[in-house]
Protein backbone atom coordinates (compact mmCIF):
# COMPACT_ATOMS: atom_id res chain seq x y z
CA UNK A 1 0.00 0.00 0.00
CA UNK A 2 2.83 2.39 0.89
CA UNK A 3 4.64 1.69 -2.39
CA UNK A 4 1.43 2.47 -4.28
CA UNK A 5 1.02 5.70 -2.30
CA UNK A 6 4.64 6.73 -2.95
CA UNK A 7 4.22 6.00 -6.66
CA UNK A 8 1.12 8.20 -6.63
CA UNK A 9 3.03 11.03 -5.00
CA UNK A 10 5.82 10.70 -7.56
CA UNK A 11 3.21 10.95 -10.33
CA UNK A 12 1.66 14.06 -8.77
CA UNK A 13 5.01 15.78 -8.45
CA UNK A 14 6.01 14.89 -12.01
CA UNK A 15 2.71 16.47 -13.07
CA UNK A 16 3.55 19.62 -11.10
CA UNK A 17 7.01 19.69 -12.70
CA UNK A 18 5.53 19.38 -16.20
CA UNK A 19 3.11 22.25 -15.52
CA UNK A 20 5.95 24.34 -14.12
CA UNK A 21 8.20 23.58 -17.09
CA UNK A 22 5.46 24.73 -19.44
CA UNK A 23 5.10 27.97 -17.46
CA UNK A 24 8.86 28.47 -17.63
CA UNK A 25 8.58 27.94 -21.39
CA UNK A 26 5.92 30.66 -21.53
CA UNK A 27 8.02 33.03 -19.42
CA UNK A 28 11.49 32.56 -20.92
CA UNK A 29 11.88 29.32 -22.87
CA UNK A 30 15.19 27.48 -22.72
CA UNK A 31 18.08 27.36 -25.12
CA UNK A 32 19.19 23.83 -24.23
CA UNK A 33 17.67 20.91 -22.38
CA UNK A 34 20.49 21.24 -19.87
CA UNK A 35 19.19 24.72 -19.10
CA UNK A 36 15.78 23.25 -18.35
CA UNK A 37 17.38 20.74 -15.97
CA UNK A 38 19.17 23.64 -14.29
CA UNK A 39 15.88 25.49 -13.83
CA UNK A 40 13.86 22.38 -12.94
CA UNK A 41 13.59 23.40 -9.28
CA UNK A 42 12.15 26.79 -10.17
CA UNK A 43 9.88 25.09 -12.70
CA UNK A 44 8.64 22.68 -10.05
CA UNK A 45 7.81 25.46 -7.59
CA UNK A 46 6.10 27.42 -10.38
CA UNK A 47 4.07 24.29 -11.10
CA UNK A 48 3.14 23.93 -7.43
CA UNK A 49 2.05 27.56 -7.36
CA UNK A 50 0.13 27.66 -10.64
CA UNK A 51 -1.77 24.39 -10.22
CA UNK A 52 -2.70 25.05 -6.62
CA UNK A 53 -3.86 28.59 -7.34
CA UNK A 54 -5.98 27.25 -10.23
CA UNK A 55 -7.40 24.47 -8.04
CA UNK A 56 -8.28 27.02 -5.37
CA UNK A 57 -10.13 29.16 -7.94
CA UNK A 58 -12.07 26.06 -9.02
CA UNK A 59 -12.91 25.09 -5.46
CA UNK A 60 -14.10 28.62 -4.72
CA UNK A 61 -16.35 28.36 -7.78
CA UNK A 62 -17.73 25.08 -6.46
CA UNK A 63 -16.16 22.79 -9.07
CA UNK A 64 -15.86 19.28 -7.64
CA UNK A 65 -12.26 18.40 -6.75
CA UNK A 66 -11.27 14.97 -8.02
CA UNK A 67 -8.65 13.30 -10.19
CA UNK A 68 -10.37 14.51 -13.37
CA UNK A 69 -10.32 18.13 -12.16
CA UNK A 70 -6.72 17.88 -10.99
CA UNK A 71 -5.37 16.39 -14.21
CA UNK A 72 -7.68 18.41 -16.47
CA UNK A 73 -6.58 21.68 -14.85
CA UNK A 74 -2.93 20.74 -15.17
CA UNK A 75 -3.43 19.82 -18.82
CA UNK A 76 -5.18 23.12 -19.50
CA UNK A 77 -2.35 25.06 -17.84
CA UNK A 78 0.25 23.19 -19.91
CA UNK A 79 -1.69 23.86 -23.12
CA UNK A 80 -2.16 27.58 -22.43
CA UNK A 81 1.43 28.03 -21.26
CA UNK A 82 2.87 26.38 -24.36
CA UNK A 83 0.58 28.45 -26.54
CA UNK A 84 1.75 31.64 -24.82
CA UNK A 85 5.38 30.58 -25.08
CA UNK A 86 5.04 29.73 -28.75
CA UNK A 87 3.34 33.05 -29.49
CA UNK A 88 6.18 34.77 -27.63
CA UNK A 89 8.63 33.21 -30.04
CA UNK A 90 10.08 30.58 -27.75
CA UNK A 91 11.01 27.30 -29.44
CA UNK A 92 11.98 23.97 -27.98
CA UNK A 93 15.62 23.10 -28.66
CA UNK A 94 16.38 19.99 -30.67
CA UNK A 95 17.05 16.95 -28.51
CA UNK A 96 20.74 16.16 -28.65
CA UNK A 97 22.77 13.44 -27.05
CA UNK A 98 25.12 15.26 -24.64
CA UNK A 99 28.78 14.93 -25.58
CA UNK A 100 29.84 14.39 -22.02
CA UNK A 101 28.98 15.06 -18.42
CA UNK A 102 28.50 18.70 -17.46
CA UNK A 103 31.27 20.16 -15.35
CA UNK A 104 31.03 19.69 -11.58
CA UNK A 105 33.66 21.17 -9.32
CA UNK A 106 35.08 19.16 -6.45
CA UNK A 107 33.53 21.62 -3.98
CA UNK A 108 30.13 21.12 -5.58
CA UNK A 109 30.60 17.37 -5.62
CA UNK A 110 31.50 17.14 -1.92
CA UNK A 111 28.62 19.33 -0.77
CA UNK A 112 26.18 17.81 -3.27
CA UNK A 113 27.11 14.39 -1.90
CA UNK A 114 26.34 15.48 1.65
CA UNK A 115 23.08 17.08 0.52
CA UNK A 116 22.02 13.96 -1.36
CA UNK A 117 22.72 11.74 1.65
CA UNK A 118 20.83 14.20 3.88
CA UNK A 119 17.84 14.10 1.55
CA UNK A 120 17.88 10.31 1.39
CA UNK A 121 17.89 10.15 5.19
CA UNK A 122 15.13 12.76 5.26
CA UNK A 123 13.12 10.64 2.85
CA UNK A 124 13.35 7.66 5.21
CA UNK A 125 12.24 9.81 8.13
CA UNK A 126 9.35 11.39 6.21
CA UNK A 127 8.18 8.06 4.80
CA UNK A 128 7.16 6.77 8.21
CA UNK A 129 6.46 10.05 10.02
CA UNK A 130 3.37 10.16 12.20
CA UNK A 131 0.78 12.91 12.29
CA UNK A 132 1.84 14.39 15.64
CA UNK A 133 2.06 18.14 15.03
CA UNK A 134 -0.96 19.81 16.65
CA UNK A 135 -1.77 22.19 13.79
CA UNK A 136 -1.43 19.34 11.30
CA UNK A 137 -3.99 17.04 12.88
CA UNK A 138 -6.19 19.81 14.27
CA UNK A 139 -6.99 21.58 11.01
CA UNK A 140 -4.52 21.38 8.08
CA UNK A 141 -4.99 17.68 7.39
CA UNK A 142 -8.70 17.57 8.39
CA UNK A 143 -9.32 20.33 5.82
CA UNK A 144 -7.47 18.27 3.22
CA UNK A 145 -9.52 15.20 4.13
CA UNK A 146 -12.72 17.22 3.82
CA UNK A 147 -11.71 18.36 0.32
CA UNK A 148 -10.82 14.77 -0.56
CA UNK A 149 -14.06 13.26 0.75
CA UNK A 150 -16.54 16.03 -0.09
CA UNK A 151 -14.85 17.36 -3.26
CA UNK A 152 -14.86 20.94 -2.04
CA UNK A 153 -14.69 23.44 0.81
CA UNK A 154 -17.56 21.89 2.78
CA UNK A 155 -19.20 24.86 4.49
CA UNK A 156 -20.28 23.15 7.69
CA UNK A 157 -17.08 21.17 8.20
CA UNK A 158 -14.81 24.16 7.63
CA UNK A 159 -16.91 26.24 10.03
CA UNK A 160 -16.49 23.65 12.79
CA UNK A 161 -12.69 23.60 12.55
CA UNK A 162 -10.33 26.01 14.24
CA UNK A 163 -8.57 28.52 11.97
CA UNK A 164 -11.21 28.19 9.25
CA UNK A 165 -10.01 31.36 7.53
CA UNK A 166 -6.42 30.21 7.07
CA UNK A 167 -5.49 30.24 3.36
CA UNK A 168 -6.22 26.92 1.65
CA UNK A 169 -3.19 26.11 -0.50
CA UNK A 170 -1.72 23.43 1.74
CA UNK A 171 -5.00 21.55 2.31
CA UNK A 172 -5.66 21.67 -1.44
CA UNK A 173 -2.19 20.31 -2.21
CA UNK A 174 -2.61 17.59 0.43
CA UNK A 175 -6.02 16.71 -0.99
CA UNK A 176 -4.44 16.34 -4.45
CA UNK A 177 -1.79 14.13 -2.85
CA UNK A 178 -4.53 11.98 -1.27
CA UNK A 179 -6.18 11.63 -4.68
CA UNK A 180 -2.94 10.45 -6.26
CA UNK A 181 -2.14 8.13 -3.33
CA UNK A 182 -5.58 6.57 -3.58
CA UNK A 183 -6.47 7.24 0.05
CA UNK A 184 -6.07 9.91 2.75
CA UNK A 185 -2.77 8.40 3.89
CA UNK A 186 -1.70 10.77 6.67
CA UNK A 187 1.68 9.07 7.03
CA UNK A 188 2.86 9.02 3.42
CA UNK A 189 1.58 12.57 2.87
CA UNK A 190 4.67 13.74 4.79
CA UNK A 191 6.67 12.79 1.69
CA UNK A 192 4.93 15.53 -0.28
CA UNK A 193 6.78 18.01 1.91
CA UNK A 194 10.03 16.18 1.19
CA UNK A 195 9.42 16.75 -2.53
CA UNK A 196 8.86 20.45 -1.81
CA UNK A 197 12.15 20.68 0.09
CA UNK A 198 13.98 18.99 -2.78
CA UNK A 199 12.33 21.40 -5.20
CA UNK A 200 13.46 24.33 -3.08
CA UNK A 201 17.08 23.12 -2.95
CA UNK A 202 17.20 22.44 -6.69
CA UNK A 203 15.64 25.86 -7.37
CA UNK A 204 18.21 27.74 -5.28
CA UNK A 205 21.15 25.78 -6.72
CA UNK A 206 19.80 26.15 -10.27
CA UNK A 207 19.25 29.90 -10.01
CA UNK A 208 22.67 30.54 -8.46
CA UNK A 209 24.83 28.07 -10.38
CA UNK A 210 26.89 29.70 -13.10
CA UNK A 211 26.41 33.03 -11.35
CA UNK A 212 27.92 32.43 -7.92
CA UNK A 213 30.89 30.21 -7.10
CA UNK A 214 29.82 26.85 -5.60
CA UNK A 215 31.76 27.53 -2.40
CA UNK A 216 29.25 30.29 -1.60
CA UNK A 217 26.15 28.28 -2.57
CA UNK A 218 26.51 24.87 -1.01
CA UNK A 219 27.78 25.53 2.54
CA UNK A 220 24.99 27.97 3.39
CA UNK A 221 22.45 25.56 1.90
CA UNK A 222 23.79 22.66 3.92
CA UNK A 223 23.97 24.82 7.06
CA UNK A 224 20.27 25.59 6.68
CA UNK A 225 19.42 21.93 6.11
CA UNK A 226 21.19 20.69 9.22
CA UNK A 227 19.65 23.33 11.48
CA UNK A 228 17.82 21.36 14.20
CA UNK A 229 14.41 22.89 13.57
CA UNK A 230 14.61 22.30 9.81
CA UNK A 231 15.52 18.63 10.09
CA UNK A 232 12.85 18.00 12.68
CA UNK A 233 9.96 19.84 11.08
CA UNK A 234 10.26 20.28 7.30
CA UNK A 235 8.07 17.25 6.57
CA UNK A 236 5.20 18.20 8.89
CA UNK A 237 2.02 18.53 6.79
CA UNK A 238 1.58 22.17 7.77
CA UNK A 239 2.06 25.39 5.83
CA UNK A 240 5.14 26.91 7.46
CA UNK A 241 7.96 25.40 5.44
CA UNK A 242 6.14 25.61 2.12
CA UNK A 243 5.50 29.29 2.81
CA UNK A 244 9.19 29.86 3.51
CA UNK A 245 10.36 27.82 0.51
CA UNK A 246 8.09 29.66 -1.93
CA UNK A 247 8.94 33.05 -0.46
CA UNK A 248 12.69 32.46 -0.41
CA UNK A 249 12.72 31.56 -4.10
CA UNK A 250 10.43 34.52 -4.92
CA UNK A 251 12.75 36.87 -3.01
CA UNK A 252 15.76 35.39 -4.82
CA UNK A 253 14.09 35.91 -8.19
CA UNK A 254 13.41 39.55 -7.29
CA UNK A 255 17.05 39.93 -6.21
CA UNK A 256 18.17 38.52 -9.55
CA UNK A 257 15.75 40.84 -11.34
CA UNK A 258 17.39 43.77 -9.56
CA UNK A 259 20.64 42.67 -11.20
CA UNK A 260 19.51 41.36 -14.60
CA UNK A 261 16.17 43.17 -15.16
CA UNK A 262 14.81 40.18 -17.04
CA UNK A 263 11.02 40.33 -16.92
CA UNK A 264 10.58 36.58 -16.57
CA UNK A 265 12.26 36.74 -13.15
CA UNK A 266 9.73 39.25 -11.88
CA UNK A 267 6.78 37.39 -13.41
CA UNK A 268 7.93 34.11 -11.88
CA UNK A 269 8.37 35.84 -8.52
CA UNK A 270 4.84 37.24 -8.85
CA UNK A 271 3.36 33.78 -9.40
CA UNK A 272 5.24 32.44 -6.39
CA UNK A 273 4.01 35.38 -4.30
CA UNK A 274 0.39 34.51 -5.15
CA UNK A 275 1.05 31.05 -3.74
CA UNK A 276 2.78 32.59 -0.71
CA UNK A 277 -0.31 34.66 0.10
CA UNK A 278 -2.59 31.65 -0.39
CA UNK A 279 -0.44 29.50 1.89
CA UNK A 280 -0.49 31.49 5.15
CA UNK A 281 -1.80 34.82 6.37
CA UNK A 282 1.68 36.19 7.05
CA UNK A 283 2.33 35.55 3.36
CA UNK A 284 0.80 38.98 2.70
CA UNK A 285 3.39 40.62 4.94
CA UNK A 286 6.21 38.57 3.41
CA UNK A 287 5.17 39.42 -0.15
CA UNK A 288 4.79 43.10 0.69
CA UNK A 289 8.23 43.11 2.33
CA UNK A 290 9.96 41.84 -0.83
CA UNK A 291 8.09 44.23 -3.11
CA UNK A 292 8.65 47.26 -0.85
CA UNK A 293 12.33 46.39 -0.41
CA UNK A 294 12.71 46.21 -4.19
CA UNK A 295 10.89 49.54 -4.55
CA UNK A 296 13.26 51.20 -2.09
CA UNK A 297 16.43 49.98 -3.80
CA UNK A 298 15.17 50.98 -7.25
CA UNK A 299 14.38 54.58 -6.30
CA UNK A 300 16.94 55.92 -8.75
CA UNK A 301 15.32 54.23 -11.74
CA UNK A 302 11.79 54.30 -10.42
CA UNK A 303 10.26 55.28 -13.75
CA UNK A 304 11.10 51.94 -15.29
CA UNK A 305 11.21 49.71 -12.22
CA UNK A 306 8.31 50.82 -10.05
CA UNK A 307 5.46 50.26 -12.51
CA UNK A 308 6.59 46.66 -12.98
CA UNK A 309 7.10 45.98 -9.28
CA UNK A 310 3.81 47.61 -8.27
CA UNK A 311 1.89 45.79 -11.01
CA UNK A 312 3.32 42.42 -10.00
CA UNK A 313 2.52 43.09 -6.34
CA UNK A 314 -1.02 44.25 -7.03
CA UNK A 315 -1.84 41.45 -9.47
CA UNK A 316 -0.45 38.88 -7.05
CA UNK A 317 -2.57 40.28 -4.20
CA UNK A 318 -5.63 40.47 -6.49
CA UNK A 319 -5.28 36.76 -7.24
CA UNK A 320 -6.14 36.02 -3.61
CA UNK A 321 -9.41 37.97 -3.81
CA UNK A 322 -11.61 34.97 -4.80
CA UNK A 323 -10.62 33.20 -1.58
CA UNK A 324 -11.30 36.34 0.45
CA UNK A 325 -14.71 36.67 -1.23
CA UNK A 326 -15.56 33.10 -0.25
CA UNK A 327 -14.64 33.89 3.36
CA UNK A 328 -16.84 37.01 3.27
CA UNK A 329 -19.79 35.17 1.68
CA UNK A 330 -19.60 32.50 4.38
CA UNK A 331 -19.18 35.10 7.13
CA UNK A 332 -15.93 33.54 8.26
CA UNK A 333 -13.56 35.90 10.02
CA UNK A 334 -10.63 37.07 7.96
CA UNK A 335 -8.30 35.90 10.67
CA UNK A 336 -7.02 39.36 11.59
CA UNK A 337 -4.95 40.08 14.70
CA UNK A 338 -6.58 40.16 18.14
CA UNK A 339 -5.16 43.59 18.87
CA UNK A 340 -4.26 45.11 15.53
CA UNK A 341 -4.47 48.83 14.73
CA UNK A 342 -5.10 50.91 17.83
CA UNK A 343 -5.09 47.69 19.86
CA UNK A 344 -1.32 47.81 19.63
CA UNK A 345 -1.27 50.96 21.78
CA UNK A 346 -3.28 49.33 24.55
CA UNK A 347 -0.68 46.55 24.55
CA UNK A 348 2.42 48.74 24.40
CA UNK A 349 4.01 46.75 27.21
CA UNK A 350 4.26 43.81 24.83
CA UNK A 351 6.22 45.69 22.16
CA UNK A 352 9.74 45.34 23.55
CA UNK A 353 9.36 41.73 24.79
CA UNK A 354 7.90 40.80 21.39
CA UNK A 355 10.85 42.38 19.59
CA UNK A 356 13.33 40.71 21.93
CA UNK A 357 11.61 37.36 21.43
CA UNK A 358 11.79 37.71 17.64
CA UNK A 359 15.50 38.50 17.70
CA UNK A 360 16.43 35.89 20.28
CA UNK A 361 14.58 33.24 18.29
CA UNK A 362 16.35 34.20 15.06
CA UNK A 363 19.73 33.94 16.75
CA UNK A 364 18.92 30.81 18.78
CA UNK A 365 21.74 28.37 18.05
CA UNK A 366 19.70 25.39 19.23
CA UNK A 367 17.03 26.13 16.63
CA UNK A 368 18.86 27.58 13.63
CA UNK A 369 22.58 27.16 14.35
CA UNK A 370 24.47 30.19 12.98
CA UNK A 371 22.27 30.82 9.94
CA UNK A 372 21.21 34.34 10.99
CA UNK A 373 24.70 35.49 12.05
CA UNK A 374 25.95 34.24 8.67
CA UNK A 375 23.36 36.43 6.95
CA UNK A 376 24.43 39.46 9.00
CA UNK A 377 28.11 38.86 8.18
CA UNK A 378 27.29 38.50 4.47
CA UNK A 379 25.32 41.75 4.43
CA UNK A 380 28.09 43.65 6.22
CA UNK A 381 30.74 42.16 3.94
CA UNK A 382 28.80 43.11 0.81
CA UNK A 383 28.33 46.68 2.05
CA UNK A 384 32.02 46.84 2.94
CA UNK A 385 32.91 45.69 -0.57
CA UNK A 386 31.04 48.66 -2.00
CA UNK A 387 27.84 46.95 -3.11
CA UNK A 388 24.60 48.75 -2.38
CA UNK A 389 21.58 47.27 -4.15
CA UNK A 390 21.75 43.64 -3.02
CA UNK A 391 22.80 44.22 0.59
CA UNK A 392 20.23 46.98 1.03
CA UNK A 393 17.49 44.81 -0.49
CA UNK A 394 18.45 41.89 1.76
CA UNK A 395 18.68 44.12 4.83
CA UNK A 396 15.24 45.56 4.18
CA UNK A 397 13.65 42.13 3.66
CA UNK A 398 15.22 40.94 6.92
CA UNK A 399 14.20 44.07 8.83
CA UNK A 400 10.63 43.76 7.56
CA UNK A 401 10.72 40.12 8.62
CA UNK A 402 11.73 41.06 12.17
CA UNK A 403 8.95 43.69 12.24
CA UNK A 404 6.46 41.01 11.11
CA UNK A 405 7.66 38.59 13.78
CA UNK A 406 7.43 41.28 16.44
CA UNK A 407 3.95 42.27 15.31
CA UNK A 408 2.83 38.64 15.32
CA UNK A 409 3.43 38.43 19.06
CA UNK A 410 2.56 42.03 19.95
CA UNK A 411 -0.81 42.01 18.16
CA UNK A 412 -1.92 38.69 19.66
CA UNK A 413 -2.07 39.22 23.44
CA UNK A 414 -3.21 35.64 23.96
CA UNK A 415 0.23 34.45 22.81
CA UNK A 416 2.84 34.00 25.48
CA UNK A 417 6.25 35.66 25.25
CA UNK A 418 7.83 32.29 24.73
CA UNK A 419 9.52 30.08 22.17
CA UNK A 420 7.39 27.17 23.38
CA UNK A 421 5.49 26.06 20.24
CA UNK A 422 2.28 25.48 22.21
CA UNK A 423 2.31 29.10 23.40
CA UNK A 424 3.69 31.06 20.44
CA UNK A 425 4.41 30.21 16.78
CA UNK A 426 7.50 32.46 16.70
CA UNK A 427 9.90 29.59 15.96
CA UNK A 428 7.94 28.54 12.89
CA UNK A 429 7.66 32.16 11.73
CA UNK A 430 11.38 32.80 11.89
CA UNK A 431 11.93 30.02 9.38
CA UNK A 432 11.37 32.73 6.76
CA UNK A 433 14.74 34.32 7.46
CA UNK A 434 16.45 30.96 7.78
CA UNK A 435 15.29 29.73 4.37
CA UNK A 436 16.00 33.12 2.81
CA UNK A 437 19.63 32.85 3.87
CA UNK A 438 20.82 30.12 1.45
CA UNK A 439 18.99 31.98 -1.31
CA UNK A 440 20.39 35.48 -0.76
CA UNK A 441 23.63 35.05 1.19
CA UNK A 442 25.58 33.40 -1.68
CA UNK A 443 24.90 36.46 -3.86
CA UNK A 444 26.14 38.75 -1.08
CA UNK A 445 29.23 36.70 -0.34
CA UNK A 446 30.09 36.53 -4.04
CA UNK A 447 29.74 40.30 -4.24
CA UNK A 448 31.90 40.76 -1.17
CA UNK A 449 34.60 38.47 -2.52
CA UNK A 450 36.11 40.82 -5.05
CA UNK A 451 37.99 38.16 -6.97
CA UNK A 452 34.95 35.97 -7.36
CA UNK A 453 34.78 35.10 -11.05
CA UNK A 454 31.00 35.16 -11.37
CA UNK A 455 30.20 38.27 -9.40
CA UNK A 456 27.27 40.25 -10.66
CA UNK A 457 28.12 43.92 -10.34
CA UNK A 458 25.23 45.58 -8.58
CA UNK A 459 27.12 48.47 -7.04
Amino acid sequence: VTAYAIAGLVALNVLLLVVGASILYALRGWATWGELVCFSGVAYLLGVSATNVAWIFELVLGIAFGLATIIGTAAALVFVAFLVGYRAGHRLPRPRVPRGLPGLSLVSAVFATMTVVYLEAAFRAARLAGLYEFDAWAFWVPKAKAIYYFGGFDEQFFRELINQAYPPLVPVLEAAAFQFMGSPDVVTVHLQFWFLLVGFIVAVVGLLSGRVAPIFVWPSLLLMLVAPHVGGHFSQPTADFLLDELFAVAALLIALWLIDRQDWQLLAAGLLLVAVMLTKREGYAFAASAIVAALVVTTRDRRSAWPKLITVGLVAAAATVPWRILLAVRHLGGGGPEAGGTGLFSNLDRAWPSFRLALSTLFDYHLWLIVTPLAVVAIVAAFAAGARTLPLYTTLVYVFAVITFTYSTWAFPSLGISKEPALNPIVRLTGEVVLLTPALVPLLLARAWRKAPYVADDA
Binding site: L106, A109, M114, V116, L128
Partner: protein, 118 residues
Protein backbone atom coordinates in the same frame (compact mmCIF):
# COMPACT_ATOMS: atom_id res chain seq x y z
CA UNK B 1 40.08 8.60 -16.06
CA UNK B 2 38.15 11.56 -17.39
CA UNK B 3 38.44 14.28 -14.76
CA UNK B 4 34.80 15.20 -15.24
CA UNK B 5 33.70 11.75 -14.17
CA UNK B 6 35.29 11.81 -10.71
CA UNK B 7 33.00 14.41 -9.04
CA UNK B 8 29.91 12.81 -10.53
CA UNK B 9 31.10 9.37 -9.46
CA UNK B 10 31.49 10.66 -5.91
CA UNK B 11 27.90 11.92 -5.83
CA UNK B 12 26.58 8.75 -7.43
CA UNK B 13 28.52 6.49 -5.06
CA UNK B 14 27.08 8.26 -2.03
CA UNK B 15 23.59 8.36 -3.51
CA UNK B 16 23.62 4.61 -4.03
CA UNK B 17 25.89 3.61 -1.15
CA UNK B 18 23.91 5.21 1.65
CA UNK B 19 20.52 3.59 0.96
CA UNK B 20 22.13 0.26 0.08
CA UNK B 21 24.04 0.33 3.36
CA UNK B 22 20.90 1.16 5.31
CA UNK B 23 18.70 -1.36 3.55
CA UNK B 24 21.23 -4.14 4.01
CA UNK B 25 20.12 -4.18 7.63
CA UNK B 26 16.52 -4.77 6.53
CA UNK B 27 13.61 -2.71 5.29
CA UNK B 28 12.24 0.04 7.54
CA UNK B 29 9.92 -1.31 10.19
CA UNK B 30 6.52 0.30 10.46
CA UNK B 31 5.20 0.10 14.03
CA UNK B 32 2.65 -2.71 14.42
CA UNK B 33 0.18 -3.47 17.19
CA UNK B 34 2.53 -6.10 18.52
CA UNK B 35 4.99 -3.29 19.31
CA UNK B 36 2.60 -2.19 22.06
CA UNK B 37 3.49 -5.33 23.99
CA UNK B 38 6.73 -4.75 25.85
CA UNK B 39 7.39 -7.94 27.78
CA UNK B 40 8.94 -7.33 31.21
CA UNK B 41 12.37 -8.89 31.67
CA UNK B 42 13.42 -7.22 34.91
CA UNK B 43 11.95 -5.10 37.70
CA UNK B 44 10.16 -1.88 36.83
CA UNK B 45 6.67 -0.48 36.27
CA UNK B 46 5.01 -3.79 35.41
CA UNK B 47 1.45 -4.64 34.46
CA UNK B 48 -0.19 -8.06 34.40
CA UNK B 49 -2.30 -8.13 31.22
CA UNK B 50 -5.21 -10.58 30.98
CA UNK B 51 -5.80 -9.86 27.29
CA UNK B 52 -6.33 -7.31 24.52
CA UNK B 53 -9.64 -6.84 22.72
CA UNK B 54 -11.00 -4.94 19.74
CA UNK B 55 -14.52 -4.70 21.20
CA UNK B 56 -15.36 -3.15 24.55
CA UNK B 57 -17.95 -5.88 25.25
CA UNK B 58 -15.25 -8.55 25.00
CA UNK B 59 -12.94 -6.57 27.29
CA UNK B 60 -15.70 -6.11 29.85
CA UNK B 61 -16.47 -9.85 29.76
CA UNK B 62 -12.82 -10.64 30.50
CA UNK B 63 -12.77 -8.01 33.26
CA UNK B 64 -15.76 -9.65 34.94
CA UNK B 65 -13.98 -13.02 34.82
CA UNK B 66 -10.77 -11.55 36.28
CA UNK B 67 -12.64 -9.75 39.06
CA UNK B 68 -14.72 -12.83 39.75
CA UNK B 69 -11.61 -14.94 40.19
CA UNK B 70 -10.10 -12.64 42.75
CA UNK B 71 -8.00 -10.10 40.84
CA UNK B 72 -9.66 -7.09 42.45
CA UNK B 73 -7.40 -4.40 40.96
CA UNK B 74 -8.24 -5.33 37.38
CA UNK B 75 -9.30 -2.55 35.01
CA UNK B 76 -9.77 -1.67 31.36
CA UNK B 77 -7.77 0.94 29.44
CA UNK B 78 -6.69 1.71 25.90
CA UNK B 79 -3.33 0.18 25.03
CA UNK B 80 -2.41 3.12 22.76
CA UNK B 81 -2.62 0.94 19.66
CA UNK B 82 -6.35 1.01 19.12
CA UNK B 83 -7.21 -1.91 21.40
CA UNK B 84 -8.46 -2.31 24.96
CA UNK B 85 -6.45 -4.18 27.54
CA UNK B 86 -7.65 -5.80 30.77
CA UNK B 87 -4.87 -5.57 33.31
CA UNK B 88 -3.62 -5.07 36.83
CA UNK B 89 -1.11 -2.28 37.27
CA UNK B 90 1.31 -1.24 40.00
CA UNK B 91 3.52 -4.32 40.09
CA UNK B 92 7.02 -3.23 41.07
CA UNK B 93 9.05 -6.40 40.75
CA UNK B 94 9.20 -9.30 38.35
CA UNK B 95 9.01 -11.74 41.30
CA UNK B 96 5.64 -10.32 42.39
CA UNK B 97 4.46 -10.41 38.78
CA UNK B 98 5.43 -14.06 38.39
CA UNK B 99 3.61 -14.91 41.61
CA UNK B 100 0.49 -13.17 40.28
CA UNK B 101 0.83 -14.99 36.95
CA UNK B 102 1.10 -18.31 38.77
CA UNK B 103 -2.07 -17.55 40.75
CA UNK B 104 -3.85 -16.59 37.52
CA UNK B 105 -2.86 -19.84 35.83
CA UNK B 106 -4.23 -21.63 38.88
CA UNK B 107 -7.70 -20.21 38.20
CA UNK B 108 -7.52 -20.70 34.41
CA UNK B 109 -6.39 -17.23 33.34
CA UNK B 110 -3.44 -16.43 31.10
CA UNK B 111 -1.39 -13.37 32.02
CA UNK B 112 1.50 -11.60 30.30
CA UNK B 113 3.83 -9.39 32.33
CA UNK B 114 4.56 -6.17 30.45
CA UNK B 115 6.15 -2.83 31.13
CA UNK B 116 3.62 -0.03 31.54
CA UNK B 117 3.48 2.41 28.65
CA UNK B 118 5.63 5.52 29.34
Amino acid sequence: VNRRIVPWALVLAAAIGYPVGELSAGAPHFPARSDCVDIAKKDGEIEAVFGRFDRRADAEARLRVALGRGFKGSEIASDGCGRLKVFVQGIRTLAVGRELAREARGVGLHVTLEYAAP
